[in-house]
Amino acid sequence: MTTLLALPYWQETGIKLGLALAIIPTTSLILVYLFLFKMMAFMQSRLGPNDTGPYGTLQLIAEAIKFLQKEDIHPAQADRRVFRMAPVVVLASTFLLYVVLPAGPDAVVQNLDTGVFYAMAVSSISVLGILMAGWSSANKYALLGGLRAAGQLIAYELPLILAVMGVVIQAETLNLQGIVEAQATGEIFGFGGIGNPFILTQFLAFLIFMIAAQAELTQTPFDMPVAETELVGGFHIEYTGFRFLLFFMAEFGTAFAFAALASVMFLGGWWIPGFDVDDNILNVLGPGVMLGKILLIAFFIFWVRFTYPRLREDQLQKFAWKVLIPLALVNIVLTGIFKVVF
């Protein structure tokens, strides 16, 4: 891999770090505005924000400023240090996810050979933060929410990883760039025009991945950890102001990251049909293509979120252990057989 710009190591690292830091607020803003504000309002026959700026786009800035103005409240009984750390831990897991997400042949913060493994590993750090938030708030609702989140996220980590295994077997690499290249150079029955997006061969894995991602993101129908109408916000019930904003940003930033993972692993990532895989122009066009695919997947994530009711946590556990995990195992076995036969 050639470097993007011929810069000293520390300058390149600085630019990449700045980009990665800037991207979380930006991506979560995009998702919140497009889906949480506008699409949700459209689905529920409301207008949504339309007054602040053109089409209400500046509403988000107003909301962010509102959160910054709020008083930072610690509950009297709270474990203050853990209480303060929790949102940072959750957000850190989101930041770490962005490190390996590729947006072009060279447009990636760090091209790890074990990118898939790394992404799956750091995404589960957020469980820790949520559990910390639930425990340290000294609130029974928060405790219930935190425990539910722990049970749920651990249960859905498995189908998520097992679903990705199918892709890894087919691509023969754990490297996310390698997975994109495998899709770009693949063929569908000898026709290589559009490569071979793994959604075609790994459709079952794609479905399992999306369902498990929905649970990882604690979106409806798997949102019992927050469950507004029963736990009134669950683990973040006691958080106000900026700390709540961190949770909020982490939620949507992670949604964006998971949509990006799905588009890299199943929809062909940044590659555009007709270009060479290492064509330099893809460093410019790739991010745009990725954004389109990410928004498409995020649309489905949020569509389900606004449409479905919520499961109960015992039903959720049953669904994970009795349906998703066996299906994912079947998918791995089938992929292995096909890999050996063809």
Binding site: M40, S45, T220, R310, E313, D314
Partner: protein
């Protein structure tokens, strides 16, 4: 019957608890969780004090009175026409339906009867407030289970019904329109056609709710078999309305004890469901909303001509006596027991509200359920805080 079931359920719970102790060898103490008085699922200030074992409810006790406004006492220092203003605010989602039993009871004491036209319009407004009230339930149940969208549809479409009520009475929520001997005003011109079209829209809304919630697998998984109330338990706790009919008891005061309103003039049916679970309660209310739109449609086409007010003295004095009259309100049986000593106002008013009795089954039905089911059961029992505490 209740005692036996109670004992059975207690025995089941204690056996479960004993099993847990033997298997895990870890005695987890119960946790007290206050659901309310400030909680979104209680629609106001109801408090449910739950003893939890993990996420399972061991004991749930509803604690009410946070919004007690003393309406029974306040009625004693008001004249009869003034009382309707208060009574409007008991079940605030179906206000007009609150006025009717009170006025009918007073009319019975005075031995006057409203002319047929007034009775028909009363019935229409009664059913309209039922549609407005139940429409909100149909959407709100979705929110209790986590589906955000239905409630917005409910608010949107309920507004149409409220507009129709407002056009006649002048008040969206608190009409204060019923008078002893008839009604305050006649219906405005063109109102009948408009209401017909609104009823068509409400039936579309019911179809939407059926698509969004009733047919949804997750909704069914959350509601079927949850909070089952057998018919004999429902009767012994004094449940009424759709909660009772969802347990399979075919009992509707509109049909069984019609106090002279126009329900017997139209073709309609009482819906029941044999299951008695949360799903049955939702389903029965959905069918009742549809049935109410049908009743309104039929009544609108047959409003008799004539005066809307009977001959009553300008200053109303109700002769001494006692009367109890109840009607089938959106939430269930609502009754007023009026004691008069021949004054301008009642000597004593006892208000029997449906939600108060419906909520009394909470300790029985919530033993052994999970915390999320507490919310679905509360939602499906469908109470209004003003109706509990009055």
């Amino acid at each position: 019957m209740t005692a036996t079931s109670d004992r059975e359920q207690m025995a089941y719970i204690s056996s479960q608890a004993a099993d847990a102790r033997v298997n895990v060898e870890l005695d987890t103490g119960d946790m007290t969780l206050n659901i309310g008085p400030q909680h979104p699922a209680t629609h106001g200030t109801l408090r449910i004090a739950c003893q939890l074992d993990g996420e399972q409810v061991v004991v749930a006790e509803p604690i009410m009175g946070y919004m007690h406004r003393g309406y029974e006492k306040l009625c004693e220092v008001r004249t009869y026409p003034q009382c309707t203003t208060l009574i409007n605010r008991i079940d605030w989602l179906g206000s007009f339906a609150n006025e009717v039993p009170f006025i009918l009871a007073a009319e019975r004491l005075m031995e006057v009867e409203a002319p047929p036209r007034a009775q028909w319009i009363r019935t229409i407004l009664f059913e309209l407030s039922r549609v407005a009230n139940l429409a909100l339930f149909l959407g709100d149940m979705g929110v209790q289970i986590g589906a955000l969208t239905p409630v917005f549809f409910a608010f949107r479409d309920r507004e149409r019904v409220l507009n129709q009520i407002e056009e006649v009475t002048g008040g969206r929520f608190h009409p204060n329109f019923d008078r002893i001997g008839g009604l305050k005003d006649d219906i405005p011109k063109g109102w009948i056609e408009e209401t017909h079209s609104v009823m068509v829209k409400m039936r579309t809304f019911c179809d939407e709710m059926e698509d969004l919630l009733v047919g949804n697998e997750i909704f069914q998984a959350r509601c079927r078999g949850v909070g089952v109330i057998p018919p004999e338990v429902a009767l012994s706790y004094g449940l009424s309305g759709a909660n009772l009919r969802a347990s399979g008891v075919d009992w509707d005061l509109r049909r069984d004890a019609n106090p002279g309103l126009a329900w017997d003039q139209v073709d309609w049916r009482v819906w029941t469901h044999p299951d008695g679970d949360s799903f049955a309660r939702y389903w029965v209310r959905l069918q009742e909303t549809r049935e109410a739109t049908r009743i309104v449609d039929q009544l609108l086409d047959g409003i008799p001509s004539g005066p809307i007010m009977a001959k009553v003295p300008r200053i109303i004095k109700v002769p001494a006596g006692e009367a109890y009259l109840s009607t089938e309100n959106p939430l269930g049986e609502m009754g007023y027991y009026i004691v008069s000593k021949g004054d301008l106002g009642p000597f004593r008013v006892k208000i029997r509200t449906p939600s108060f009795n419906n909520i009394s089954i909470v300790p029985w039905v919530m033993k052994g359920v999970y915390v999320p089911d507490v919310i679905t059961i509360l939602g499906s029992l469908y109470f209004i805080l003003g109706d509990i505490d009055r």
